[in-house]
Symmetry: C2
Subunit: 140 residues, 2 copies
């Protein structure tokens, strides 16, 4: 069995608001968009932002469940990249959850939520290699 995640799909309420955060805040270029979904080609997987009602219907879940917490992370190449990116995301509709500080294992990280409440950790973690295609390798 491949250790493989193909897609992360985030439910959103407003396509335009979400697009502003991802396309203008992160600066990511959509690979496909229509009136209900935007896809971004990522590092070996695809990110989708899809109107929440459509996603729930597709999953056959009647409502957003009180599911457990979760977080996505975007790691940056240098320590000095963390805070400017967090500021830029806040300028594009993100909300600050945790200002950047050093976690116990080293590096620097803070948390932002996107306009729909999905948490993003913005991190510099020198122990985790990132290659030129954005593929990330676990390290200690």
């Amino acid at each position: 069995m491949q250790q493989q995640i193909s897609v992360i799909t985030l439910g959103i309420k407003d396509l335009c608001r979400s697009r502003n955060f991802y396309a203008n805040g992160f600066g990511w270029v959509p690979v496909f968009e229509n009136a209900e979904i935007i896809f971004y080609q990522m590092n070996g997987l695809v990110l989708g932002t899809w109107l929440e009602d459509a996603l729930l219907t597709d999953m056959k879940r009647p409502a957003p469940t009180a599911s457990s917490a979760s977080s996505l992370a975007h790691n940056v190449p240098m320590m000095d990249d963390v805070e400017p990116l967090m500021a830029r995301l806040i300028d594009h509709g993100g909300k600050l959850l945790r200002p950047a500080d050093a976690p116990p294992y080293g590096g620097l990280r803070g948390y932002i939520s996107d306009p729909d409440g999905h948490a993003w950790e913005i991190a510099w973690n020198p122990a985790w290699a990132i290659d030129d295609k954005g593929h990330v390798t676990f390290g200690l």
Copy 2:
């Protein structure tokens, strides 16, 4: 800015129960584990399953928010792989959300939730290429 997701961290209540789903159900081999977190090296990113209280403390979120819906997907190489994997995940603590059927855009997919309520789409999508390292490319 790299179009890159470094980590997906799922909040979980019980490490052993979650490990059974991911390590025995999906058959994924942990790259690191301790008493509160398990990491899996995936296709260019890392999957973490972390005790929910620790994740919430790290994010500085007081409680799991009523955040929007979200879903992860694992795509399989052949149509006939979808239902056996769904059955295997159910045998390891997953719950059926949607039995496998054909979506409007083709292929075959169903949804399972993990023991903590995180949704996984198990899909065969012939339009999306998967290479031998598990890197997935968007296609129409």
